[in-house]
């Protein structure tokens, strides 16, 4: 049997990275900002959204894509805010890639949206590897998870553009050292903004929302 060897010499994620770049170009034309929200399960992505959307909805038109392996619990919750919400099922997959994100965006009316928030699958490992085409990546880390997470999941903190430290109202119950945590994060990703928030009490949410609103403004102006 005659074989022919073809050199490929490409990273395995190169196709996804190209798809993601294409998506970002389209989003720029549409003037829609895509935020990829990632965290481990239970850190409070959905409750953070429930606080964030009412803050921003007076000035920004918001859509939400809820990614889950197989449920619509979060989509039901978030639809109460009045935002356009769609549910994406990853069908057993632990992350979203750029193609799945594109399928979700096709279901939304991007011309009528300034900001789309993608709530990724709860997982600190796999979603970090796959560029979704987002403009910025936000990572939520909650106080009970501990300040050592940047040491254990360095890639997630390396791809983050902003960090939310949620459940800060419970800080007294845990040995979470925000200063040590900040140092660890900044070793991986120098200078990224870190907002301590409580999605329960609303503490710190305004500062985070101001940051996000400014990011959307800059994206739409350039």
């Amino acid at each position: 049997m005659e074989f022919k060897v073809i050199e490929i010499k490409q990273g395995i994620l190169s196709a996804n990275d190209r798809e993601a770049e294409g998506l970002r170009r389209e989003l720029r034309e549409k003037k829609t900002f895509l935020l990829n929200l990632m965290s481990s399960p239970g850190s409070g992505k959905t409750s953070t959204l429930m606080q964030t959307i009412p803050h921003l909805s007076p000035t920004l038109r918001i859509g939400v894509m809820e990614a889950d392996i197989d449920s619509d619990v979060d989509a039901r919750t978030v639809s109460a805010t009045g935002a356009q919400v769609i549910q994406l099922h990853t069908g057993g997959m632990c992350h979203l890639d750029a193609e799945m994100t594109r399928q979700g965006l096709n279901e939304l009316d991007l011309d009528a949206l300034d900001l789309v928030i993608l709530e990724n699958v709860g997982n600190l490992v796999c979603p970090a590897e796959f560029d979704t085409g987002s403009v910025k990546n936000a990572v939520v880390l909650s106080v009970p998870e501990g300040d050592d997470k940047p040491l254990k999941y360095p890639l997630m903190f390396t791809v983050a553009d902003v960090l939310l430290v949620n459940k800060i109202d419970a800080a007294a119950c845990f040995d979470f050292d925000l200063e040590v945590f900040t140092q660890r994060v900044h070793t991986l990703r120098p200078g990224i903004p870190i907002f301590p928030i409580s999605a329960k009490t609303g503490e710190g949410v305004e500062a985070w929302c101001n940051w996000l609103r400014e990011q959307v403004r800059q994206w739409q102006e350039t």
Binding site: F3, V5, I6, I8, K9, G11, I12, L13, A15
Partner: protein, 115 residues
């Protein structure tokens, strides 16, 4: 199922790379380079590999060869090059943890043998 997603990504990159080639009837072997400290578990990747045929029929019956690439770093303090894993990330010459990784995170498709 991280590795399954990566198998599908691999199939996509290879399919796109072969798009310009004529008369390919099957992929015989895929050669991957996986770094020692990449986030991929070669064993699971092997287990998921047959699923590539679901995305692209050219992969039916294809074999997988994995070449492992050792993790090597250069110390930022003294310039020593050293294997990362056996030294647990610390420079064996001066003890520093500050280093630039030279190899070990790869996850590349090196080549495919086709017929």
């Amino acid at each position: 199922m991280h590795e399954l997603g990566l198998v599908f990504q691999m199939a996509k990159v290879i399919e796109e790379s072969l798009a310009g080639e004529e008369d390919i009837t099957a992929i015989d072997t895929v050669v991957m380079e996986i770094g020692e400290i990449s986030s991929v578990v070669p064993h699971y990747f092997e287990a998921c590999f047959p699923a590539a045929a679901d995305r692209c029929p050219l992969f039916a019956g294809a074999k997988l060869v994995i070449e492992k690439i050792p993790a090597v770093a250069r110390c930022r303090s003294c310039g020593e090059e050293f294997p990362v894993v056996e030294n647990k990330g610390y420079c064996p010459a001066c003890g520093s943890f500050d280093k630039d990784l030279l190899s070990g995170r790869e996850f590349n498709i090196k080549e495919v043998a086709v017929r």
